[in-house]
C-alpha cells in the first residue's frame, strides 16, 4: 500500500528541513551518550584494571602483616617491607607439594622515584596480568646478568631511557636519596610493553644484582652510616631497627631452626639447603654467583614470593601451610581475594563514578525527552495534514519513530566513535600518568542496558505524543483548536 522508500524519502526530507535543530539534537544526544558511556566505561575499567593487576599467581607469600598490606607491597609496591622472607623459607615453600614454581621479589631500592624489583628471570614468564596476559617486551629482552636492568614502559617513557642506557640505583625509595649505588651502574637491557599495571612503573633487576649492590656498598664503605644503610638491604627508613631484627633473625634462623629442620626433614634437597645457609652464614657470596665478596647478613632474603601451584585446589592447603609455617612468621594471600578487599577499601571511587553515571544518564534522558517532545509539539500540524489526506496511523507513527531513531542512532554512533577515538588517544596518557589502560570494549552489559533504556525512552517519548496527536487531530482545521 505504501512503500518503504516513500516513507524514508519523507523522513529524510523532514530531517533535512529541520537540519539545524536536528544537528543540535544529534550533538546533544552524542554528548550525553558519550559522557554516559565514557564514565561507565572508566568505572568498569578501573575495577577490571584493578582486578587484573595480577593473574596467574596463585599465592603471594610474605612476612606476616595485613593481607592488604602484603598485596600493596608485593603487587603495587606501595609501602615499606617490615620483615622479609628468608631464603630458607623460600626453599621450603618451593619444596612444598603442589607448588609448581616460585618467583621471589625483593624491594628496597629505587631509581629516581621508581621502585626497583629484584627478581628472577622467571618473573617475566610467570607474572601475568589481565586475562592471563604475559608481560611483553617492547624492546630488548629480559636481564641476563646482575648488571642488567629491565624498565617498565612508564619508567622508560618518563625518564626517556633507551636500550643500553647506563643507570645507577639509589638506596631506599625516597625521590631524593643520598645513597647511590654508583659503584655498580646497570645497563638497560629491555623495556616492557605497557600493561596498565604497576609493572609499568618499576625497574627489574636480577636478585643477585640487588645483593651484589649492597654487598659492594658494605665492602667498600667503612663509614658507620653507610654500612648501616648498606646492611639494610630491604628495609627503608629505619636502618637500626632493621639491623637489630636481622641480627636476631640471623641468630635464630641459621642456628636454631635449621638444625631442627635438618633433624625432621626427609627431603634430600634439604642438604643443599642447609649448605646454602651455612655458606651464607659464613659470609660467602650467597646465591649471587658472580661472587662479590661480602658479608651481608641478609643475602638471599626476599620481600615476598609469588607462588604458582599445580592445581588451584591446593591453594588453601598451601596457604594454610604457609600461614602456620613455624620458622618464620609468614602470610600467604590469594591475590584475587586480596584485590577484592583492597577494592572495597577504595571502592568509594567506584560509588562516586556510579553516581555520576546515573546522574548523567538521568539528565541525558530528560534532555532527550525534552527535545523530542518539543519537536512533537512542533509537528502537530503536520500530523493533522497527514491525517486529512488519509495517511494511515502506521505511516505517521513510522515516520516519527524513524526520525527519532535516526537522530538517536546517529548520536549514539557519533558518541561511540568519539569514545573509541578518545580511548585511543587518551590511553597513552592514561597509562603514563595513572597506570590505567582502557580497553576498546565499551559495550559492557551495563552500557548496553543504558543504551537499551535510551532507545526505549525514545520509543515512548515518540510514540505517546504521536498517538496523542493522532487522536487529537480529529477535526479538519489546520492546527486550529476545535471550535
Amino acid at each position: 500500500m505504501l512503500n518503504l522508500s516513500s516513507l524514508l524519502g519523507v523522513a529524510w526530507r523532514s530531517l533535512l528541513y529541520r537540519f539545524s535543530g536536528v544537528v543540535l539534537t544529534v550533538v546533544s544526544v552524542a554528548i550525553s551518550v558519550f559522557v554516559l558511556l565514557g564514565v561507565e566505561h572508566v568505572r568498569q575499567e578501573a575495577r577490571n584494571g584493578f582486578a587484573s593487576t595480577v593473574s596467574g599467581v596463585d599465592l603471594i607469600v610474605g612476612a606476616r602483616t595485613g593481607e592488604v598490606n602484603l598485596l600493596l607491597l608485593s603487587v603495587f609496591r606501595i609501602g615499606t617491607p617490615t620483615a622479609n622472607v628468608s631464603w630458607s623459607s623460600l626453599e621450603q615453600i618451593e619444596a612444598q607439594k603442589n607448588v609448581d614454581w616460585t618467583v621471589p621479589i625483593s624491594l628496597g631500592d629505587s631509581h629516581r622515584g621508581f621502585r626497583v624489583v629484584g627478581t628472577t628471570q622467571e618473573f617475566f614468564t610467570r607474572y601475568k596480568y589481565a586475562n592471563r596476559q604475559a608481560l611483553a617486551f617492547r624492546e630488548g629482552a629480559q636481564f641476563s646478568g646482575p648488571t642488567d636492568v629491565v624498565l617498565g614502559s612508564r619508567v622508560a617513557a618518563e625518564l626517556s631511557y633507551g636500550l643500553g642506557e647506563s643507570i645507577v640505583l639509589s638506596h631506599g625509595v625516597a625521590d631524593v636519596s643520598f645513597t647511590h649505588h654508583d659503584q655498580l651502574p646497570l645497563t638497560v637491557k629491555g623495556i616492557l610493553a605497557p600493561s596498565g599495571t604497576p609493572i609499568d612503573s618499576a625497574l627489574f633487576v636480577d636478585l643477585s644484582a640487588i645483593d651484589a649492590l649492597h654487598a659492594d656498598e658494605s665492602d667498600n664503605n667503612t663509614g658507620h652510616t653507610k654500612t648501616d644503610e648498606g646492611t639494610d638491604t630491604r628495609g627503608e627508613g629505619e636502618p637500626h631497627e632493621e639491623h637489630g631484627a636481622h641480627d636476631e633473625h640471623g641468630a635464630h634462623d641459621e642456628h636454631g631452626a635449621h638444625d631442627e629442620h635438618g633433624a625432621h626433614d626427609e627431603h634430600e634437597a634439604h642438604n643443599e639447603h642447609v649448605a646454602r645457609d651455612e655458606h651464607e652464614e659464613n659470609g660467602g657470596a650467597g646465591h649471587a654467583e658472580e661472587g662479590h665478596a661480602h658479608d651481608h647478613p641478609l643475602i638471599g632474603a626476599v620481600t615476598a614470593v609469588l607462588v604458582g601451584l599445580d592445581s588451584p585446589i591446593a591453594t588453601l592447603q598451601v596457604k594454610r601451610w604457609a600461614d602456620n609455617y613455624p620458622d618464620e612468621a609468614l602470610l600467604a594471600i590469594l591475590p584475587g581475594v586480596a584485590l577484592t578487599q583492597l577494592w572495597e577499601l577504595v571502592g568509594n571511587v567506584e560509588a562516586v563514578l556510579l553516581g555520576i553515571s546515573i546522574l548523567v544518564f538521568a539528565s541525558s534522558l530528560l534532555g532527550l525527552n525534552a527535545m523530542l517532545l518539543a519537536s512533537m509539539r512542533e509537528r502537530r500540524g503536520e500530523i493533522e495534514v497527514l491525517r486529512s489526506i488519509g495517511a494511515p496511523s502506521f505511516f505517521i507513527l513510522a515516520l516519527l519513530l524513524l526520525e527519532s531513531l535516526l537522530i538517536v542512532t546517529t548520536g549514539v554512533v557519533l558518541a561511540v566513535l568519539g569514545l573509541l577515538l578518545c580511548i585511543g588517544v587518551a590511553n597513552d596518557v592514561l597509562v603514563q600518568s595513572f597506570g590505567l589502560m582502557l580497553s576498546f570494549q565499551i559495550f559492557s552489559s551495563s552500557n548496553l542496558f543504558f543504551l537499551a533504556l535510551i532507545y526505549l525512552t525514545t520509543l515512548i517519548v515518540t510514540v505517546l505524543p504521536a498517538l496523542q496527536a493522532y487522536h487529537v487531530s480529529k477535526s479538519v482545521g489546520g492546527g486550529s483548536p476545535d471550535s
Partner: protein, 232 residues
Amino acid sequence: MTKSNTVPDAIQLKNLGYSFKGSALPILNIPTWQVARNERVFLQGESGSGKSTLLGLLAGLQLPTLGDVDILGTRMSSLGASKRDRFRAKHLGVVFQQFNLIPYLSALENVLLAAQFGTSGGAVARQRAIELLERVNLPSSLHGRKAAALSIGQQQRVAIVRALINEPSLLLVDEPTSALDHNNRDAFLALLFDILADRDCAMVFVSHDPTIGQMFDNHVRLAELNQVAGRD
C-alpha cells in the same frame, strides 16, 4: 441507504449528536441534513459554532456520539479507524484554511503523497498531478519548490490539486480564503469553481463570510441546522 434504487447522497446525516468526551452538553444536534451528489453547498458558521467538529465528522476523522453519518452511502461508524483513513484518502478531498501542506515536501511531492494514500500512484498519477498543478496556474518551475517557500495563495492552490488528485466524490473546504487578500480570494474561488465544473464532485464549503455564499446555489446556516439549545 434509504433510496436503494438511486445513487446515495454525498452526505446524509440523521439524528446526529456530538458532545466532547466527558461533557454532557452536546455541541452538535442535527436531526437531518442531506447533500446530494454533485451539489455545492455553502455552510455559513461563526467560529465556535461547531463547524470544524462537523467537518471532522464528515471527513471520518471522528465518529458521532449519536446518530448516523453516511458519506457516499457508507456509514462512517461501520468502518474501523484504518478503513476510515483509506476511505478518506480515496473518496474525500480536504482543504484547510492554511497549513495544508507538508512544508518540507515540494508542491508536486505533496500531491503525490496524497495520491499514494489513495489508489493512484506511479507515472500516471505524476502526469495527472502536473496537469492539475498547471491547471491552477502553477508553472512547472514551482512544482519542485518546497511548500514552505510558496506564497499562501500558491499553497492553497496546491492544496486544491492535492484534494482532487484522487478524483474524490466529496470535497470538504474549510475557510480556504481566510488568509488571502480580497483579489486573491476572488481568484481562488473562481479557480475552485472552474476546476470543479467538469467534475463529478460534491462540495461543502465552510466559511463565516456570507459574501462568499452568494456564489453558491445552496446556502445553509449552521445555526439553523444545529438544534443545540443556547447556540446562535
